[in-house]
Symmetry: C2
Subunit: 353 residues, 2 copies
């Protein structure tokens, strides 16, 4: 039953394997925190409490739902005072190295940064093939940085929904720059775009196919483009690519925020021109705060949160019911034996409620 519920919660996002919940591990948990413990800990900037609160929010266990919602609700008035930056680019573009260099520069300037990584990469091995453990080595020990990878191979929708809430908690904990890293060139960009103020696209100077590697839709979402790995012999090529991208961007329709998308070259590895990226973002902030887009965008993000939370709650309420679970247990074998179609079974189950 528990398995089925977990399965349902993951399944609704399109992932098939149920979350692996080890009951022994669940029982050996640390001191239970009260709502007040959580909120006060977060507001004090306590990283352990912040981490635990995010874990609670990410939990698929319906028993955690009320507490999670209460924590978010109490942190909400203390949130919003950050610059939220989404960072994307194909694998291999150097996102981690960039975030390491960019983050260190920002903490050096006195900022407190939180890095939330949306990485739905590996279900089975929980990691990418090339050493996730060595990612952001120096940033991960920086007392002014908080790095939170997605806890498991959770799914896009799930992680992304919770990322909205993680942003709120990080802001309440005093982090004034939130970096949301998204992997790949797929769907997660749209979700991340919908929760940030500025969306940065990292590119490479490719071998002649500068426009092939990235979908137009992703480029259209970007508020700024960076040609990364402009190091050594590659710098000239990067500058060439910069010109090409600038030309390509002119073909795009004007954005709602009335912003000319800048294209810069940098080398995260050599820490070259990283400050230009920050200047680009500050200019964007000033521009969109002046024309009102910044606040309008933030307001629409509240509407997104509203719908996301409705949909999350609907499913949570539905599955968190003993009679429903019993009926699911009865229906699953019938579905597997093809005695009932999955569509009819789903309709019948819902009609009973």
């Amino acid at each position: 039953m528990a398995e089925d519920f977990q399965s349902a919660l993951t399944e609704r996002e399109g992932i098939e394997q149920p979350l692996q919940v080890n009951p022994n591990l669940v029982r050996r948990k640390r001191k239970v925190l009260t709502l007040d413990d959580y909120v006060q800990g977060i507001l004090k900037g306590d990283r352990v409490t912040l981490s635990r609160a995010i874990t609670l929010i990410e939990s698929a266990n319906p028993e955690h739902f009320d507490m999670a919602q209460a924590i978010i609700e109490q942190c909400l008035p203390h949130s919003g005072n950050s610059l939220r930056i989404g960072i994307t680019g194909v694998p291999g573009v150097g996102k981690s190295t960039f975030i390491e260099a960019f983050g260190k520069m920002l903490t050096g300037m006195g900022h407190k940064i939180a890095v939330l990584a949306i990485d739905p990469s590996s279900e089975r091995s929980k990691g990418s093939i090339l050493g996730d453990k060595t990612r952001m080595e120096s940033l991960s020990v920086d007392p002014d940085a908080f790095i939170r990878p997605s806890p498991s191979g959770s799914t896009l929708g799930g992680v992304a929904r919770k990322t909205r809430e993680s942003i709120i908690l990080c802001e309440a904990a005093g982090f004034d720059i939130i970096l949301v890293e998204t992997v790949g060139v797929g769907q997660s960009e749209t979700v991340v775009k919908s929760m940030v103020d500025f969306f940065l696209l990292l590119m490479l100077a490719g071998a002649g196919d500068e426009l092939q590697g990235i979908k137009r839709g992703i480029m259209e979402m970007a508020d700024g483009l960076i040609i990364n790995k402009a190091d050594g012999d590659n710098r000239a090529k990067a500058i060439g690519a910069q010109a090409q991208y600038r030309a390509a961007l002119k073909l795009f329709p004007r954005t709602e925020n009335d912003w000319t998308v800048p294209v810069e070259v940098c080398s995260a590895l050599e820490c070259y021109a990283i400050d230009k990226v920050w200047n680009m973002i500050l200019q964007y902030e000033a521009h969109t705060k002046a024309n009102g887009y910044f606040f309008k965008n933030r307001t629409e993000q509240f509407v997104n949160i509203f719908y996301n939370w409705i949909n999350f709650t609907l499913q949570n309420n539905f599955y968190n019911n003993e009679a429903t679970q019993k009926e699911i247990d009865r229906l699953l074998p019938l579905i597997r034996e093809k005695k009932i179609s999955p569509y009819l079974a789903a309709s019948k189950l819902i009609d009973k409620r």
Copy 2:
């Protein structure tokens, strides 16, 4: 109100813009088909009816829900008699060229193939920068091929959910090989993997970073790997990459289907070794049908369908209600003016039902 509902339906998948439904276009629609028209048309293999049925299924309009479900239900007994092949790879790897060559080979062998493309690329321009119109030029006019791109920049979850149903309809229409193309290296692979029999990963012989461009999780999902673009001078490099991938795959845990993942080189452009890919898939089919995995996997896909349909129906039922829509209309301005938190507003709305 209509806008809010559309917005809610799209939002639940993480996309923010409401679907653009032009009421004038909706009104100027063709002859309304009955359930029987749809089902008989599909079973006869009529492509226009099949297309219209898929459009109906993909519709976010709750009024289409019952008809869509009835069509699926009636096609279901006629489905399942195909080989379902998922195809993925980073942008630029040559998926379209591969599918064109592969598909032409298959129709030449007497197969009827359906190509369902999951391409959530561009929300704003509805296309990629490099000519989607020229994709699969020769396959698209082949009478034994049916090509169905995702209709718009719909979201992953939404498209993918409907792709399961599109497969059923295509099978009922007599297509015996279904190719599900997924774009990018992101999340959609997990969803596609969950609806196919065989998952094919296309790779390139990269410039020294053969393992960088693709996430381990994607590689772990693959039932077969192809190094594409093994043409001209590139063939030696591709063969080198083949050896590297073979070595890398040995590091992976044994899969549940007890299958040694093959790695082949091919050139879709030069139609070189495309038949090897087909042989690979036929061997996989024989192997997994012999050990029972094939059928077990298909059975679990029915369970996935069950949960997906529950979740889809839950949201459809919730939003398709006048009182709820009125309450949403009342709450949205309060959320925008920050007079109520979106979390509290969502909870209140749900408690009222």
